[in-house]
Symmetry: C2
Subunit: 128 residues, 2 copies
């Protein structure tokens, strides 16, 4: 049986993909995939997504160089979430943090929990 | 500033919450929260969700006893995903696995990557 038969895409044909850095166990981001981006992720070994805000197909790192090499693709009991283990180059977050989850709730407000590795303008000038 | 001001809920008033076991780094599940379930998660220190399929508010472990004690609540750069560190009692998955992500893609099919700790019928008879 193809694993695709186990997956449930939402009304827009999308499924959320949690990206975890295999080496550290750090969850670095969550983004959305469609069937085509899953296929390309498997074929190329690099994560590909569908951007809901930009309505655009994208490869992680295509502009920044901060690509993700796929080590494992798991899916959950309901088949409606993916968990992908990767080897992450550089910062995963477009704001220059290792993880997009760089803020935690504290006393009703929040705190920043990790250093900013790069300034966003440094990340995105690399390849432009 | 309240951290709520940083969050973006979808058209149904929901936000996905990735649940990670703090001790092991294992991502055990993803489920959906609304503002009320986030508030109760913070107030009680136990994860609360909104079930889209059952259209029902629920506390993780309310039937199984497999509760999650909250250790940290992070949110991502876009404010549209939560990452919650927990101390997990027993199996997180309703199918009796430690993690809901107990299957990985392999050669177009999939394999089961961890032992089933409990049979579902054992989990759900506990408190009924």
């Amino acid at each position: 049986m193809s694993f695709y038969d186990k997956l449930k895409f939402d009304a827009q044909g999308l499924i959320p993909a949690i990206i975890q850095e295999q080496k550290t166990g750090r969850v670095v981001m969550m983004a959305w995939m469609n069937r085509a981006s899953i296929a390309d992720t498997i074929k190329t070994g690099k994560t590909h997504f569908w951007s809901r805000s930009r309505q655009k197909y994208w490869m992680k790192g295509e502009e920044s160089g901060n690509t993700q090499t796929v080590k494992d693709i798991a899916f959950d009991c309901d088949g409606d979430v993916l968990l992908i283990q990767v080897e992450q180059v550089g910062a995963a977050c477009h704001e220059g943090y290792q993880s997009c989850f760089f803020r935690s709730v504290e006393n009703g407000g929040f705190k920043i929990t990790e250093p900013q590795l790069q300034k966003p303008e440094e990340i995105y000038k690399k390849k432009k």
